[in-house]
Amino acid sequence: MPASKHSPSDDSAQLADQRLVALYRTMVLSRYLDDRVWMLNRQGKAAIAASAQGHEAAQVACVEATDPSKDHYLIYYRQATAMMALGATPEEMLRGFLAKEGEPMSGARQFPYHGAHPRVDMFNFSNVIATQMPQAAGVALSDKLRGLDAVTIVSFGDGAASQGDAHESMNFAGIQKLPIIFFCENNRYAISVPIDKQMAIDRVASRAAGYGFPGVSVDGTNIQEVYAVTKVAIDRARNGDGPTLIEANVERLLPHTTDDDHTRYRSAEDIEYISQRDPVKITSAFLLSKGLLTEAEDEAIHSDAKKQVNVATATVENEPFAGVEAILENVTERTEPTR
């Protein structure tokens, strides 16, 4: 099964118009939040941030094809938009960045986006690249063994594809025909390492052939295309037909994190090029051109997002840092002996 360029044919794999606008709304909200967090970092208030800018369309479209009431999401650190599509609020996100009391994922013990979400089964135990992949295979295996109708979506970057854990987990998922989607957000860089120093092939998706399941490479700035291939993969998984590897080709519009300066390793042309591949702009243009959105509505979406982010910032900024009362708790179930 070679990597295929997907052409959406199945009708059920088409997004309804008003859902398109709803997804766009999430993308814009995520974008504003992301800009705000970056600013808070520059002000010395947020320790670090990894930005989803450029990945937004791929993330909302992927989530849209799933069922958050039963599916599992093993996310990674560049998925603010996916998290918001799954229901994380700007306040919750900001509590992560600013390490505030009540941070929902880990009690601010972890970096932003790490831990487990209390409402949706979305989690990320660690910052260690690719460890979530065998874990996701374990999640999917246990659903399959119990006959549960749930799919596991595990996301990772192009860099993660080089890790042993990526290989081991895809191999196992193929053998066991697990209900799992391997969702690779390929932005062509692992921090500063460009894709041609990460692999000698063109498409991550072509690796799927080595594991006996389909691999699909899509334009990750195109909501409809990502939705369509993900929907097909989800249906396959739910029908017991096994895994799919999806490669969403996106751009990382900003440096790796707030600690990084990508002009050290990206050419000016490259930086100019990626700005043309901004999914928020692309989606907005598409919706406008199709008449699904007016300029005024678009402006309203933007100003609403800005307002939400402002309100959230005002609320969270004044909250206290997560405190030390619980620092000894939740190591193991039993009480640990203290020294």
Binding site: F125, S126, V139, T332
Partner: protein, 327 residues
């Protein structure tokens, strides 16, 4: 009730637990038709089926990562790492990940998983089938580590491990599998995690140990007794958390302490036990704390002469015991 071997105790305990609790699954290399290379799961695939007894590809990070994912999603996996020497590829999933699931999610997620690891030497295993790997696990908060020395303890500790709601590493000494026999009640019992046991009471000196070596300590203690040295033998049983209270109580009574282990001494279990004694027994100590272990070489060599030179034998212990007794 007949005596059974330590490996039989392991096997029967897993069988009983799997009958009791459907959420228990087994994962590992050769655990299916082969029944495990030590036959710990002999007959299991026949009884429980391929869904619950899963032969995995040869990939330890996968085995432990899959176990972790399944645990987080409501199962109670028991993963077998075929030999301790091959656990290194899985360290990322165990020490990096599993240990921090509860802490890193502030309790939202838990990982009730058991990792069984046959370890240790004196089986002509050479550098790569003899290793002791307890140090890193025993250092890592969030993990629990047990190392039973008898069939009775093996059953009780393994049952506790399987029923615990956190990751537990079960270190089974390969040489004890068939060497060590003992009575094991057939009824359902567990032993508390985190408790050492006095395996022999005595008043002149405390010797702390665990695993295979514990049995050699008991042999040495008998000989010492004949020489008039009455040794109290402490079996750690749990390596994380170490039961400081039992150690301190014993050493406070005897005033002297020797720690013996099969692992190389630098930065090890024996270091921690010595440190606990140095911190907490200062006013009761009648002599320096002594440690006995193999030389600081990478692992147990293959030649039978070299292997014997590596192992802390009862004879080597007696030299240390006699010396400490006269200090």
């Amino acid at each position: 009730m007949p005596e059974i071997t330590l490996i039989q105790a392991i096997r029967e305990t897993m069988r009983e637990e799997m009958r009791r609790d459907e959420s228990i699954i087994l994962l590992g290399e050769d655990v299916g038709n082969r029944g495990g290379v030590f036959l710990a799961t002999d007959g299991f695939v026949e009884e429980f089926g391929e869904d619950r007894v899963i032969d995995t590809p040869l990939a330890e990070s996968l085995i432990c990562g899959v176990a972790l994912g399944a645990a987080v999603n409501g199962m109670r996996p028991i993963a077998e790492v075929q030999f301790a020497d091959f656990v290194w590829p899985a360290i990322n999933q165990l020490v990096g990940e599993a240990s921090k699931v509860r802490y890193g999610t502030n309790g939202t997620k838990t990982a009730p998983m058991t990792i069984r690891i046959p370890y240790g030497g004196e089986v002509r295993g050479g550098l790569y089938h003899s290793q002791s790997i307890e140090v890193l696990f025993s250092h890592t908060p969030g993990l629990t580590v047990v190392a039973p020395s008898t069939p009775f303890d093996a059953k009780g500790l393994l049952a506790s491990a399987i029923r615990a709601n956190d990751p537990v590493i079960v270190l089974e000494h390969k040489r004890t599998y068939r060497l060590v026999k003992g009575y094991v009640p057939s009824d359902d019992y567990t032993l508390p995690l985190g408790r050492a046991e006095i395996k022999r009471p005595g008043k002149d000196m405390t010797v702390v140990s665990y695993g295979l070596i514990l049995h050699y300590v008991l042999q040495a203690a008998e000989i010492a007794a004949a020489e008039g040295i009455d040794i109290e033998v402490v079996d750690l049983r749990t390596l994380r958390p170490i039961d400081a209270a039992t150690i301190v109580e014993s050493v406070s009574k005897t005033g002297k302490a020797l720690i013996v282990q099969e692992d190389t001494p630098a930065v090890s279990i024996s270091s921690e036990v010595a440190a606990i004694i140095a911190e907490q027994c200062f006013f009761d100590l009648d002599g320096p704390v002594m440690r006995l272990g193999p030389p600081e070489i990478p692992a147990m060599p293959f030649s039978p002469l070299q292997e014997a030179a590596f192992m802390p034998s009862p004879e080597k212990m007696l030299i240390a015991i006699r010396k400490l007794a006269t200090l």
